[in-house]
Amino acid sequence: MNSIFIICAREILLGIRNRWVLATTLLLAALSLSLVLLGSTPTGQVGVGALDVVIVSLTSLSIFLVPLIALLIAHDAIVGEAERGTLPLLLSYPVRRWQVILGKFSGHVLILLFAAVIGYGAAAAALTVTGADLLRQSLVAFMIMVGSSVLLGAVFIAVAYLISTLAPDRGTAVGAAIGVWLLLVLIYDMALLGILVIDQGKMITAGILNTLLLLNPTDVYRLLNLTRSASVSQFAGMMGLAQNAVWSQFTLLAVLMLWIIVPLALAATVFTRRQV
């Protein structure tokens, strides 16, 4: 347990030193603040919290950005150390290899957590300063958005660790990371949409669609945030999906957790067998 903590602490220190923490936090803050400034104009509608609009915009943004950031900071966690030659020494120390994986992973997740809380929190803080009414309900939705964004990030960090333990070199890891990002963030939904259009509801029932959505962590994240409250889903244009949604919040969270545990466990298994 202690070794995990030591490795985690070093990963955070490295994140601070090589400016990953700063860069991610600034990026998320800048984007969320600009969304607040731009997004507060079209609200117009009476009785809708300004925060709901921000949640919708930030969710759509996070789906693209958070996985990308996660893959970027974590893709060379293992293969990078192997290539720099720091891995043999670390593994000669009294640590189990799964402890190395878990320690580095938790370090990366904490970096992302920090960036999301500060970066997205800046948006909420800005809204408060401008005097917008923050509904308690919206505030809860906002916190869920921040939390699930970190969870989404953790999914992609876990996937990046699996890539990092499998890849023979850093170049391959980068390529695979970009491939995973394209597949899960862009291609999956587009392909799904295309199939739905072609199929015209003959084969693909609502049940199958719901299951297919569950298989992609970015869709799970979308469902988690955009269908939560009526006002949010209305803005997000997710009313149709929201009405069909059969999955409880608990199921969605459980699926995201599985998306973290399975790749991480695989990464630990592969890493334990690896010869350095």
Partner: protein
Amino acid sequence: MKWAIAADKISKHFGRVKALREVSFALPPGELVALAGPNGAGKTTLLKLIVGLIRPSGGTIRIFDEVPAACSLTTRRQLGYLPENVAFNDALTGRETLLFYARLKKERPEISLSLLERVGLTAAAGRRVAAYSKGMRQRLGLAQALLGNPRALLLDEPTSGLDPAFRERFYELVRQLRDRGTTVLLSSHALTELEERADRIIIMKEGIIVANATLGELRREAQLPSRIVLTMAEGVSADDAAKLAPAASMRQINPDVLEFLCPERDKMDLIRRIVAKGTAIVDLEVVPPGLDKLYAHFLGAHVEAR
């Protein structure tokens, strides 16, 4: 436990490359053993197997009676390892790096700071490793290997990049550990340094051990001649001194300096004859075959045997 490290017919193949071929040896506690051999002989592979970073393709290897790749954390804590071309994370300072490793070994922070002083890095401790020279990285590598008073110390070319003064200090540090019962196995190409310091020498070539003995035993086995150099007094004819030994073994270096290559068994006889010459000889130098000669001999013998 008789042996600190014991290998029984271990082989290691990387694809079609046979890095080690049925290597057997055993090292007792408190011995300083040098591992010599040309590049690609399998020295680094052997050390990695002992540390448990890789697993053997065949045979068994034990460190403190445990399988290295699956040994307990307690055993691992008693292991010091310096990899070949040791690398550290450039973003951390020397002190941070050493403290990190100290924590992993559950060593007190004061000890690691005193180690920095012992390897002469106190002044550079606050600087990032990125700014370190090769020698400074190597010193930091040694400091981490010495953490936690290891009972087994495995050093892969520890003296490469070190300045001569610090090499002396390094061997002193290693000797102190050896005297306290630590088994030290170090690979090196600096044969002349090892000659005076190693208790035993293992010579490897092409994945097998061609010699494993003390320096004295190697000399006896190799039967290489000692070099005896005579300086004669002025006015003494070299021809006179030349009759001391068979002409074939003699070489005249200067008008008054002669060199004999003398087999071990004839050495004392020759020296007696030289002494009998009295004042005609003003200086006598006996040079036993060095480790470099023995090394070349055993590598050559290995080639002939094939």
